[in-house]
């Protein structure tokens, strides 16, 4: 359709008065013609006023909406948040180093690689096909990086996103599935671990491309902190020889209190030390994105033990 023919239709389009086939043609044209897009936006604004906005919906409209709005999962939300950030990147930004030697595009491929272990456990197909038995996340990352090597950023972006959507969809109806990542997790914990890593790498990419960090919602950070607290005994016991326990007070919205035994095999003892720190800071610490010395931390009780514990926390990273 020519520019002039479409321009003629813009008023009708803004009023939703075009037949479906012409609506489609107009919208195709608007995606590529700035002149028409500007006029279309202005006419849309004018059309929005034609209703008048003078009637109020019934009082129960909001409560009905909130009851019907499905709660968002931590994983699905972190995927959407990273997708939003990726959609905004320039080609040059996709090639920037984001973590060690990995560029933004390679980091997205790395996320897709670890996600594919979850996809495989859910019975979904993966690209490249998953070997049997499934490899470690590091070996899988190497395979996916080779597979993605000659693809464009938008191909890598789409491949990551569509697999993530399939995982989110399949996991709502999955039964008791175990997923082998760096450790073996029940599906629910595996998805929390994936949400956690997706958030941390989103902040890596945000930092590499000059955007502010944005932590997950309180209701989403809470299960991540809980997962870290449950995984930590096995991690910390490698570095700290002690049969004591640490009380963790994680403050701020989404926080809580956990008792972490330093020897997973020993019976629960009363904590020898208590550490108070913000929950978001703690999650970044456990992902090795912040050092204990950068954080506002309050310690009570056995101070050397607390310091040894805090020094061992970042070895939980790379995030499970």
């Amino acid at each position: 359709m020519t520019h002039d023919a479409v321009a003629e239709l813009i008023g009708a389009w803004a009023l939703d008065a075009c037949p479906p086939d012409e609506t489609e043609l107009v919208e195709e044209h608007l995606a590529s013609c700035d002149t028409c897009a500007v006029e279309a936006a202005a006419l849309r604004e004018a059309a929005a006023d034609l209703g008048g906005a003078y009637l109020r919906p019934p009082a129960h409209s909001l409560s009905r909406l909130l009851a019907a709005a499905p709660a968002k999962s931590p994983y699905g939300t972190q995927v959407a948040a990273l997708d939003l950030l990726l959609s905004d990147l320039t080609p040059v930004q996709w090639q920037r180093p984001a973590l060690g030697e990995l560029t933004v595009r390679e980091l997205v491929a790395h996320l897709a690689a670890t996600d594919s272990l979850v996809a495989h456990a859910l019975g979904l197909p993966t690209a490249p096909p998953m070997p049997a038995p499934p490899p470690s996340p590091a070996a899988r990352t190497e395979a996916v990086l080779r597979f993605e090597e000659n693809r464009s950023p938008s191909q890598t972006h789409r491949a990551w996103r569509s697999q993530a959507d399939e995982i989110a969809k399949a996991s709502t109806s999955a039964g008791a599935v175990m997923v082998k990542l760096s450790r073996t997790f029940p599906l629910e914990d595996a998805l929390t671990a994936r949400a956690y890593e997706t958030w941390i790498h989103r902040e890596d990419i945000a930092s590499a491309t000059g955007r502010p960090p944005m932590p997950p919602l309180p209701t989403h950070i809470h299960p991540m902190a809980d997962l870290a607290a449950r995984v930590l005994p096995r991690v910390v016991s490698r570095a700290v020889a002690s049969s004591e326990a640490v009380r963790l007070h994680l403050t701020g919205p989404g926080g809580g209190t956990w008792t972490v035994p330093l020897d997973p095999a020993s019976a629960m003892t009363s904590p020898a030390t208590a550490i108070t720190v913000n929950v978001v800071d703690f999650c970044r610490l456990a992902a090795n994105r912040q050092a204990p010395s950068q954080l506002a931390i309050t310690i009570e009780g056995d101070i050397p033990l607390a310091h040894a514990f805090l020094a061992a926390v970042p070895s939980m990273a790379p995030v499970p």
Binding site: E8, L9, I10, G11, A12, A14, L15, D16, A17, C18, P19, A37, A40, A41, A42, L43, R44, E45, A46, A47, A48, D49, L50, G51, G52, A53, Y54, L55, R56, P57, P58, S61, L62, R64, L65, L66, A68, A69, P70, K72, T77, A80, A81, D83, L84, S87, M214, P216, L217, H220
Partner: protein, 207 residues
């Protein structure tokens, strides 16, 4: 302080601010923040609901459309592109398209069985379903802007937007060629957009 800028600069600053606010709302929704959905409902449910009532003339259907629109925003906030228009315009479009789809589906039934028209073909200030008036000023400004339009343009726009006719049907009803109907719709909306811009300028200067 003391620096006077022309109304164009202020309007442009206003639109810039609007685009930033809209992008923030969209980002909060993408991050799963339910308070962003509550804010959006607070700001725009009247707009969405009024469009749906006026097009469908059915308060129950309008309530359902209002729910659908805000649920769609909650589930797919990234469909909104701040550089392609305002959040307000986008919500209005979603409401209007749903309402028009409903009317077109039920057209035969609706147009033959509705014994009493709840509205005149032109803009009624009446309140057929008993909801509270929430923004009389907006209704008054709209009535004013429409009155300023020549009758043929006002009629074409009313037929298309509020009665859900395609431009081809508008041409038939008005007995004009399709090309004329298309250009009347465009010309009428352009004039309304112009009047709207003046209203915005007035709002900025009035601060």
């Amino acid at each position: 302080m003391g620096v006077r800028v022309g109304p164009e600069v202020e309007v442009s600053a206003l639109f810039q601010q609007r685009a930033t606010d809209d992008a923030n709302s969209r980002d909060r929704l993408v991050h799963g923040d339910e308070t962003a959905l509550i804010d959006l409902h607070e700001r725009f449910s009247s707009l969405v609901y009024t469009i749906a009532v006026r097009v469908t003339r059915d308060s129950t259907a309008a309530e359902d459309i209002t729910q659908e629109v805000f649920l769609a925003v909650w589930q797919r906030p990234h469909d909104f592109q701040p550089d392609r228009g305002s959040l307000r315009g986008w919500l209005a479009m979603m409401a209007h398209r749903r309402a028009v789809d409903l009317v077109r589906r039920e057209e035969a039934h609706r147009r033959t069985n509705l014994a009493v028209r709840l509205y005149d073909a032109t803009f009624s200030r009446g309140d057929p379903v008993g909801e509270q008036v929430s923004d009389e000023d907006a209704a008054a400004r709209l009535a004013e802007a429409l009155k300023a339009l020549p009758e043929r343009l006002c009629r074409a726009i009313t037929l298309a937007y509020l009665e859900g006719h395609t431009y081809r049907e508008v041409a038939v009803v008005l007995g004009v060629p399709e090309g004329t109907a298309k250009s009347q719709l465009r010309e009428g909306l352009r004039r309304l957009a112009e009047a709207l811009r003046e209203t915005h300028t007035g709002e900025v200067e009035g601060r």
